[in-house]
């Protein structure tokens, strides 16, 4: 399902969030996503990378070329951190709820922007968010 050309990069500073955007944009363009879909994926990556940095205490992102269940090609991103985890996943995914001072749209927004969204987290055990975007 996944090509082995995964690329992993650390997210340890706000500069890394910028680099994540650049890497994701390049990967999305290489996978043949439209300009709108590229922008959506980059924006979702930006939100998730900032969460990883700000709430997860830093972590990493892996970018990989992938193929969806219906055979469409695309890009999958996996964000991992070893942070405090999310105690109430349902609440974190609802719009307008924020643990910090943000708008509370980051996580639900990222889900809206992508075709595939997976979140695994437990209190104290870190968080893994997987998103994917397929070509049309």
């Amino acid at each position: 399902m996944t090509t082995p050309s995964g690329e992993e990069m650390p997210i340890a500073s706000s500069d890394d969030v910028v680099r994540v955007r650049q890497v994701v944009r390049a990967a999305a363009a290489a996978a043949g996503l439209s300009l709108v879909d590229q922008t959506k994926l980059v924006t979702a990556a930006s939100e998730l990378a900032r969460n990883t940095y700000a709430h997860g205490g830093g972590g990493a992102m892996r970018v990989e070329r992938a193929t969806g269940e219906d055979g469409r090609k695309g890009v999958r991103l996996v964000f991992t951190d070893e942070g405090p985890g999310i105690a109430d996943v349902d609440r974190a995914l609802s719009e307008g709820w924020s643990s910090g001072t943000g708008l509370g749209l980051g996580l639900p927004g990222a889900r809206q922007l992508c075709d595939e969204f997976g979140l695994r987290s437990e209190a104290g055990g870190g968080t893994t968010v997987t998103v994917a975007k397929w070509t049309r």
Binding site: R21, T39, T43, G102, L103, L105, G109
Partner: protein, 277 residues
Amino acid sequence: MTGGADDTPIAELLRSWREPVLGRWIELVGETVHGRLSEAEVRSELTELYGLVERALEGDTAAGDELRAALAEISRGRARHGFSPTETAVGVFALKQSLYEQIRMTRDQRAYSELIDFSSYVDELGLATFETYAAAREQVIADQADQLLELSTPVVRLWDRVLGVPLVGTLDSARAQIAMETLLQALVTTGARYAVIDITGVPAVDTEVAQHLMKTVMAARLMGTHCVVSGIRPQIAQTIVALGIEFGDIVTKATLADALAYVLERSGLRVVGEPEG
């Protein structure tokens, strides 16, 4: 090693072959920096270094420290003037080659064994040079990033009492803060009634960027200035909708031209074309 405690054979060799070895070293370095440094500059630099190497090898620790300081100074200079890492490091390593050529020519067997020790000594100096070079480059990059931060948030006058803030690049918290401060300061000095914030050059608008924009607009509004956000491209518009960001009553336009037209109209100004002919 043979020789006296305060005079190692390699130092002796360097001293007795000063003329040819130093000459060849200058020649080798001159080839790598061709044109960017004059021969006289290279000569004076290397002559000083050569003297320090001689003294350091004799066991003069003060000269050793001085040698490292001089190398650090030279590599910092190279980094600033855009020399490549290879060109910088070769400057040091070329001394090895120069000495080796001399030993081969004279077929001095004793000198060959000395060359190995000397070689690792020069390697060590070369690596130290390289480290300073890298540190200096990092500094140059950090300085440029700071300069860019200052340069990239200009506030321009679009019309009488209408300001424009063209934002280009990543809008992180630091940039957003500077943009807001520059705009608010300009509002005070110009007494502008309208400000157009153009985000055509911002590659991605996520919740953080949106929040910064909204705060800037709110702050300007408190000062009595009406803000328009322009440069919303189609892909950005779709992303903002998908993210669920509400810009509320903030006026947004697709292009800077639309925003300017809107502002002029609100000011009661009309652009009239002069009849041709």
